[in-house]
């Protein structure tokens, strides 16, 4: 069934279809309408889930950890400062190997106070052991919620689905809502090997000294590595079931490309428009969209970029003291290949600054006109 839905409601429908059992969340702009919609669905009896209203995001994640540890499919949603407040428990959820799925509406961190989109909130949680999936349309958001449960429950690591504040969260567009029966066959019931059960008491999160902590960390990394293939398989199965797929990365019109732009989130979507136009004019420019940021799909990125002459990474984020975070990751992936393609790093769209086709045009134009990047960071449209 196709419906005109805003991104936040697409999240909620994904949760509905995934038959989530516990939702523990706290509202924050621009995430609020996710929780409102879920609350509405629960109240109408359409979603048979326990909705836990908590007093902070820290408690929201604590609630998710408890529910997930008890073997229930669990979901939460947050944004920006709310995600930052969860930080301690994000480590906990991943370390406890709980397949919690979260939607984070990307919103800039304050101060200065800002409710608009950028990726610094989620990228600050890069090293917590959560998988991260950046989406570019409401359809992708809905589909990725369903996929994420499947991936998480296979590798036993939590997932974070990222959607740009307002540009997706509050924008309505047609979305195909899959049939429940199909989703049920695609996403079977979650049955963990170990769970909190009063009939079979076990101990979790025990003190583990250096004899085993190290090995358990190895197992987490191993799971992350495995997740790349599993995510690809899960996406392929999604294609055969629902007729749509996204890939963990996507090369868009990269054949014989002289320049490949690397993007994520809604910037990918707008970039497609620009690429189409430039290709029509005969310019050899393509785009690599990175959907899965953690684990970072190193092999896929290497393969996608290996024949490019130049790479332009557009980052809607910044690691202060270094530069764009996607740019760092791309450079790092390329280094050991010995294929030292010039990688241009651009910072754009922070705090909701609009990334229009004009901005992307400017980036492409600048990259084409220069042989080497010169500076490691390029700011686009800086008014200073």
């Amino acid at each position: 069934m196709k419906k005109v839905l805003m991104g936040n409601h697409a999240v909620a429908y994904g949760v509905l279809l995934a038959r989530v059992g516990v939702i523990s969340a706290y509202p924050i702009t621009p995430q609020t309408t996710i929780v409102e919609k879920l609350s509405d669905l629960c109240a109408r009896g359409e979603l048979n889930a326990k909705l836990i209203d908590v007093e902070s995001e820290h408690s929201a994640m604590a609630g998710c950890i408890g529910a997930s540890a008890a073997g229930v499919r669990t979901f939460t949603a947050t944004s920006s400062q709310g995600l930052a407040l969860m930080h301690e428990l994000l480590h906990w959820a991943a370390g406890a190997r709980l397949p919690i799925v979260m939607a984070n509406v990307n919103r800039a961190m304050g101060p200065p106070w800002n409710i608009w989109t950028d990726q610094n909130d989620s990228l600050s949680q890069r090293d917590t052991g959560w998988m991260q999936f950046y989406c570019e349309s409401n359809q992708e958001v809905l589909d990725t919620v369903i996929q994420a449960f499947k991936i998480s429950e296979k590798v036993l690591l939590p997932s974070m689905i990222l959607l740009d504040g307002f540009f997706l969260s509050h924008t309505s567009e047609p979305v195909d809502i899959p049939d429940q029966e199909k989703v049920d066959s695609y996403l079977p019931e979650y049955k963990p090997k170990y769970k909190l059960d009063v009939k079979f008491p076990l101990s979790f999160g025990n003190l583990t000294d250096e004899n085993y902590y190290y090995e358990l960390r190895y197992k987490m990394q191993e799971a992350m590595e495995k997740a790349k293939n599993i995510a690809t398989e899960v996406d392929a199965e999604f294609l055969s079931t629902f007729g749509r797929s996204y890939g963990i990365v996507e090369s868009y019109r990269c054949d014989n490309a002289d320049l490949i732009t690397v993007t994520s989130g809604t910037i990918s979507s707008t970039t497609r428009v620009v690429i189409d136009k430039l290709r029509d004019k005969g310019k050899k420019i393509g785009m690599l969209k990175i959907k899965m940021f953690r684990p970072f799909p190193v092999e896929d990125v290497r393969m996608a970029l290996e024949n490019a002459k130049k790479v332009a990474v557009i980052d809607r984020n910044i690691s202060f003291g270094n530069g764009g975070i996607f740019c760092q990751e791309v450079k790092s992936a390329m280094y050991n290949t010995g294929n030292h393609i010039p990688v241009f790093g651009y910072i754009a769209g922070l705090g909701g600054r609009d990334v229009t086709p004009m901005v992307i045009e400017d980036i492409i134009d600048f990259t084409m006109r220069h042989d080497r990047p010169g500076d490691d960071i390029h700011w686009v449209g800086l008014k200073i």
């Binding site: 101060p111 200065p112 106070w113 200073i384």
Partner: protein, 552 residues
Amino acid sequence: MPYLAVSLANTEANLTGNWRSVRPVYKNKVPPCKNACPAGEDIPLYLALISKKRFKEAWKRIIESNPFPGVCGRVCYHPCERECLRGKFDKEISIHSIERLAADYAHSHSRKDNKKRQRKGQGKKGKKVAIIGAGPAGLTCAYFLSKMGYRVIIFEASSATGGMLRQGIPEYRLPKKILDKEIEYILDLGIKVKNNTRIGTDIDIEDIRRNYNAIFIATGAHKNRKLLIPGEDNSHRIIPGLDFLKGQNSGHNKETGERVAIIGGGNTAIDIARSVLRQGTKPMLIYRRSREEMPAIEEEIHQAENEGIIFHYLTSPTDIIMDEEGKKINLGCIRMKQGEPDKTGRRAPAAIKGSNFIIEADSMISAIGEDPDLSFLPADIKTNKMGILIDANNATTLEGVFAGGDAAGEPRSVISAIGSGKRGAYSIDRYLKGVKSEEISKPSIVQYEDLNLDYFEKGKWNEPLKLSVEDRINDYKEVNKGFSAEMGITEASRCFSCGICNMCDNCLIFCPDITVVRKKKGYEINYDYCKGCLICVEECPRSAMTSIEEIK
């Protein structure tokens, strides 16, 4: 550009008040208790003072609206308590017991310093007002007029002051020394009383009109209503109720014999029954309706029952036959049933045919009500069935003559008489100043739904103390003992203070824009910055903040 997000002007430049579509208004409302009180006592204000142990100030606050707190704390039927919103929450506040506590405290701690202070202003306005009748209505009217600076004289037919308070209420309910104290306080303002001066007999009303600028008639209702049954006038053993009480209150008990039948269901009937009980007799009370419909104060009925008085409900006397010696009464009665409700909602009793029976008694006292005796009035002061015809300002049909209390058909209660006297005083003042009375807009009264009950805890309340039945039925000791100081303080602390700000600071604490400013008395809202979020209205426990549509 600065290195951080900073405005080089402070946020005062941003007048966020222009965002408002509704505005909060800081305004006290009328609490339902005050609205119900005919004297308009500022109840929450004096309860607040009591809760802070400021008894004397509480008393001073009460006597600004009612000079008889000691009396009303004892005998008022306290309509205020019926409206107390705490009643819907857990239990209404025993306002009368606190009022009594304040008065008793003030009387036992008085320094007699008011005489000089108050007399200074006496007569300043140079105008003279005559008051006819020294009952609660007359004394109250005199009190307020005197405080306003008028010269006041009271003409009183009897040898004492207090009217029905003295003559009609037994000692065990209202000790004379309490009444004396309060009347003394009133008269100390410089009010003259001419006792034993009956209008129409001892002095002519036209004379008074000539010598005084205004008159307030408050002669009360002293004419016993008749039963209008055969045999009513045949014996001295058939006693009019008010005569009985007057006799008893002046130390001349009437001989009743052992079995006393009292007819009626009002406070007078109960007072008589309980008084004759204290004379060692066996009273029985005969009332033609049911207990629920008795106009007497519930507490009084309850105490009478405990004291062993026999009640014959739904019973009506039909005739009286004396025995041959003239000592024994055979009171013919008939059983009644409740009929259909009449216009006022009260169910009219109807006799059950053939249910006649006889009650034997040694005497009978009828207490079915009193009417004013207005035979002294000149023809141009018009009357109706209820009494003297008055308008909303207590003015009679004769220029400069006002009336109030029972004589003017006001509801038969002490507090109504006091309210009537007070209203009369203010009307006379306006009349003498030549000012027209203002149209009073309907006050906005706090409703239960207006309160934020989250701020109140349900809790314990105090029951006023009283003597046990054994300790009280053998003499005329005061039955009710009211509250100890401690009990009064805790009871007063239970007040919601409906509509009356008590500076709890909630509005100030909760305002997200720091626009509520605490002043010496109350708060001010800075409308330059108030965004109209109305959190202050929501968080005010007592509805002293109201929202109105934004003034455009």
